[in-house]
Subunit: 263 residues, 3 copies
Amino acid sequence: MSSPTVRLPRYRSALFAPANQLEVLKKLPRSRPDLAILDLEDAVPDSAEAKQQARQVAREAQVWLAAHHPEQAVYLRLNAVQSPYFADDLDALTPTLAGVVLPKLERAADLAEAVEQFGARGLAHLQIMAGLETVAGVENAGELLQGPGKGPSKGPSKGAVKGAVTSAYFGAEDYVADLGGVRTAAGLEVLYPRSRVAMLARLFGVAAYDIVVTKLRDDAAFLEDARVGRSLGYGGKLCIHPAQVALSHQVFSPSPEEIKRAW
Amino acid sequence: MSSPTVRLPRYRSALFAPANQLEVLKKLPRSRPDLAILDLEDAVPDSAEAKQQARQVAREAQVWLAAHHPEQAVYLRLNAVQSPYFADDLDALTPTLAGVVLPKLERAADLAEAVEQFGARGLAHLQIMAGLETVAGVENAGELLQGPGKGPSKGPSKGAVKGAVTSAYFGAEDYVADLGGVRTAAGLEVLYPRSRVAMLARLFGVAAYDIVVTKLRDDAAFLEDARVGRSLGYGGKLCIHPAQVALSHQVFSPSPEEIKRAW
Amino acid sequence: MSSPTVRLPRYRSALFAPANQLEVLKKLPRSRPDLAILDLEDAVPDSAEAKQQARQVAREAQVWLAAHHPEQAVYLRLNAVQSPYFADDLDALTPTLAGVVLPKLERAADLAEAVEQFGARGLAHLQIMAGLETVAGVENAGELLQGPGKGPSKGPSKGAVKGAVTSAYFGAEDYVADLGGVRTAAGLEVLYPRSRVAMLARLFGVAAYDIVVTKLRDDAAFLEDARVGRSLGYGGKLCIHPAQVALSHQVFSPSPEEIKRAW
Ligand SMILES: [Mg+2]
Ligand SMILES: [Mg+2]
Ligand SMILES: [Mg+2]
């Protein structure tokens, strides 16, 4: 009721593509995702050479997308702030970006460092999507997502950058790997963290993206999982295949009845 | 084990009726609910005129019920403390009431204000049922429910009125609306908040009422949902139809075996 | 990711036996549990005489097991720190023990007292398994399990003994009894606390043992429950019958594929 009602215009789908594949990146707008994400993290091999090559491709893709698809919102997913790649990843940022994704975000201090680095490069306008996909990230989600004056009446959190984060996602695969658990089809092993992240996102007025569905070419499974995500309060889904975008929009677009009711 | 074992005598059912319908209010005791609640909030249209008319009817009903059914415990559900109706709702309180319901309670400061207002009117004896049915209310449930010296060893909470709350309910419909989620038959979207509220109620020795079943005339569905609530630690259910009272008592009354075991 | 990756060598099974039955205690190693626990708490009748007799048997068993099965890790489960039996239970500790189990642990102050008592008796080397099986124990799990410098950036917790706890279990039967709930076959009533304890154990680098399966002679039910526990991040199970040990190992031993993947 008195929760913040700030809602991003549309965040039904965020489609990832590997930041080292220029031709794939250029095609991102084709499926009309609400957000396109060039991925320097999981989609690029874990080596200094691969990351460096991907940064150059990512810069080129950003310029090309801004020129040919100015209507497409584009984010860049950096490697984790606490990773050895982060500092150099900053060189891949161009002013055409709408925002960045900080994967495996765990501590307010890391968020503060990222914000400081963006500011130092004249990129203070970047929106930040927090990737909550480790045990520590979920446990600290409250302080990572809270904005100025929006939180419950708790003590001041040290090092948090109030209002820095505008969206977040819960990453089930990485979370369960970090937990030492096992992913199942029913997904009960992530019901608690998945519920909690959506709830805190809502509490702090942050847009929440639901988990990736790794099984491709199974529309029914995707739709079912998206409906679960929507029931839990998520507003959209992370997508890893263009075909998942339309499916996401099918689930997360408000129905005519819902639109009518809102008026 | 060392949790407080204070248990209200009986709180298997709390039956609501619209505070603006005198004849319905007079019939509240017929189904023998453990608690009858005259509702100035959701059951009364959202306009100053409707609320004002309901306040007068509610006063009349309180007097009538006290005279004709002195054995019936009666609460009045006010509008939310943070709503524009709350101040005038206080005029609807009479000394015959056993307690009040504070819906959509979210902050300790609002609880403190309500307690102060009751005290200023010589109504400090009123029991308070906290309606936890928003994202903020669930997140802040700990400080809203805690009593003096009962809580875990955390810092002092500012503005909390220790021990003011004697019962609470979790409201799934309003919670999910506030969350931006979707209610489902299986109810997994509320398993986390529903579990957490019951757990905190137990931790702080507060009686916990389970969610409303909105589907009427489906006894099997009500019984199944009540059994889930009981498994989670709830001691009774909010009821919105007289027929739900007997069903609640069926589920929440201890069996002869349980009574024997307790001795 | 940056969660501590300390993992005890093996903790797939912890087999309990009543501390007052010498012949049963001597047989504990036969089923080759990763851990054997002599139980002074639930398995021994709740009387001063029964507890005293069990303490003497437990001492004798410890010496016998150390002599005949030096390879077997042995813990002693004391009665709860806050119980009247705890002080005398300390006399049952011998230097042959690898550790102790503190059941129904709820407060950091109780943990600190236990640690102090062990130190005063020259038993500071004892590993501590925290039994989280009450509402207060689950709610305070964070401060009970956290180690030095490992926790999220919260304020200092008063009275906590940093790093004292090396393992923990969630006890569903006692938890639900304390909650005032009902245990069901599906177990959704404990999904939240069971999830939360495993998550916090992982956050603080503590080995986590999953709930007891009370139904004996039903291998399929045990295996199914163990798989749920493993999906939630538990590394092993509490066992109350020797036949449950092999079943636990079946579920919690890494598969050849998992071992290969880890390299
Ligand atoms: Mg990842
Ligand atoms: Mg309502
Ligand atoms: Mg027990």
